[in-house]
Amino acid sequence: MAVDRLRCRECGTEVPAGPVYVCEACLGPLETAYDFDALRRLPLRARIEAGPKSIWRYADLLPVPYDPVVDLSPGFTPLVAARRLGEALGLRHLYVKNDSVNPTWSFKDRSVSIGTAAARRFGYDVLACASTGNLAHSVAAHAARAGMRACVFVHAGIERAKVLAAAVYGATVVEVDGDYDDVNRLCAQIGDEHRWAFLNVNMRPYYSEGGKTLAYEVAEQLGWRAPDAVVVPVASGNLLVKIHTGFRELAELGLIAAPKTRVHGAQAEGCNPVAAAFKDGTDRVRPVRANTIAHSLAIGTPADGRYALAAVRSTGGRIEAVTDEEIVEGIELLAHTEGIFTEPAGGVTVAVLRKLVRSGAIDPEHTTVAYVTGMGLKAQEAVAGRLPETVRIKPTLRAFEGAVLAPAS
């Protein structure tokens, strides 16, 4: 159901829904404001279950109307019962929400689908973004689908596959000589001067609602109930906040029972501003300079850090950080046990999951969902140097028996 109002997260001021993202009264972030009374009058569950196998089955709960021109059919990704990973970690009811299988192989497609629909609705011609890679890829693909121009901004040195992935759809890829935070600042400034739709800046109130679908789907796939625990990777903190809010809103709408979900956050030690604030018991997040292989989580100034801390604390969760070595082990563990190849952000999630189980923060009997947000092939650098060489043999049976069979037996 398209929203007609936006509301300020800080001061509550409401404005008509439009291409604005900052409250003029206090400079706080604007969020979409749904009419819950109207929504409660609808047969929501029936409408959802009759919907397409994509995020748009939740169209009633999304802030702009479905727009077939921009639709790449993102979402409704598998909720994998991770039996072998669960065994390895000591969890009896572990699930992996595998968002690596989206149209551009990351969870960004959810948000970009909505943000692009919003951009078209507000008459923009150019899609843009500040990205660590996945967002740029998704924006480029959606722009191509919608016949719009795209200009994506990344920081110098991101994985080459992510650059290629954005360029192949025809987008202009701008590689900025700085880190992600520099790119983000620049894009905010550009957006202030030029009428471009920056998905994660001026389209943000609409774009960020995509994260909620990761809660909606998990609840639906678990049979209309919330899990006992979730582990969510934290870059800006926005995804974690939206997942937490998503479960709560489903309950407010009467679709599930009140959630008791513990929301845990996962960061890399090389960029851990929110984890550090959690550990210090404060809500003031101090910016850091990112230095980690988990490039997609390398946001040194996470704007939603405070809100993520509040969500985690209010649910009795924790935010943990892991080393680059642990991240790679997490990628390998997931690949070896479940056949899912994730990028470092997913490795962070698995490694933190392991840490939380070991510290007793996750009950082995609890239904736990780990969010895997992107795929490994776009971030090969993380594992490339660690894999065994191929077995080279001549095309003879003897060669096979000597080189493959014998060592393996």
Partner: protein, 90 residues
């Protein structure tokens, strides 16, 4: 004179001006000077405890002041200050 770039949502305080100038000194002094000239602008940046609002970022010469000296960050005559609502992340 240091220059300060005003983001769109704050231009109502500066009569639509996108760029304003302030005397060199510190960021704190610059904000005070601007608040004197454009009443109410100071409150948009700094809370009652004298700290920058967490959802507002300020950059001096493209560096986040929270990674410099915060409100005590010095501004010389060629400093460029940018005020940007905190929208980091994607």
């Amino acid at each position: 004179m240091a220059t300060v770039r005003i983001p769109t949502p704050m231009r109502r305080y500066t009569n639509g001006e996108r760029i304003v100038t302030v005397a060199a000194g510190t960021l704190a002094a610059a904000i005070q000077e601007l608040d004197g000239r454009y009443p109410g602008l100071g409150e948009r940046l700094v809370d009652s405890g004298g700290q920058l609002h967490p959802f507002v970022n300020v950059f001096v010469n493209d560096e986040d002041v929270r990674l410099l000296q915060g409100l005590a960050t010095p501004l010389d005559d060629r400093a460029e200050v940018a005020i940007i609502p905190a929208m980091a992340g994607g």
